[in-house]
Amino acid sequence: MTNNTIQRELLLPQSQQQVWDAIANSAALADWMYPNDFEPRVGHPFTFQVPPKPEIGFEGLTVRCEVLECEPPSWLVFSWSVAGPVIDTRVSFRLQPEGNGTRLFFEHAGFDLTQPGGKQAFGGAQYGWGQMLEKLSTVLSNQGIHENQP
């Protein structure tokens, strides 16, 4: 109930290699995620730089990652750390050919709201984390697709 995993499954019309090239490539990730220094190499530490949005008081954010598993063209896992309960969470992509396309299994796991240090992290939450998330969420919903917005 209080440990959560986000899972999504998509059937994409592109080939497995094309999808792989879109997720395991720094330039592609910069297009649909954020500027980054990703390399498809296990153990490689990298960051995503979420740009600031001064107009809503969002100061920007660095997501710290490390490639944990990389098996082209079907399996990519990287860690995802921001702050608070999002330390050492794991983002994974599994690709599987299906018909002429590719099935993508996406998962973001490891939101344990109580990891070691979680208490302190939530202490921090009292003065900033919740607000930061709210701003981040505004940033995110102001870009890309708005279909989830009222």
Partner: protein, 110 residues
Amino acid sequence: MVSTSDFEPDVFHAISHRARREMLDQLTDDERSVSVIASHFSMSRPAVSQHLRVLLDAGLVTERKHGRERRYRLVPEKLAPVRDWIAHYERFWDDHLQRLQNHLSKKSEP
């Protein structure tokens, strides 16, 4: 320190302990007495009561007297801040997976 007792992070604090999460899990289907709850733990009865007090203070459970014992019931709507929090990230990924699809269709145009 400024008191923020009615502020939602109390809920996060309350669920920041594994035993308290397990207690909440026990209460998902029905109310339970302290003794039933305590029977699932190796800790002392007073320790169990202390954890229940934290859950009570956060509003995550309610307490009522039933004969000689106290029974606890989950207040699931109080977990909303936690679910909201995950929902932020769900929206994040729904947006970005949509962007991934846009990226792919852009790339595969002839």
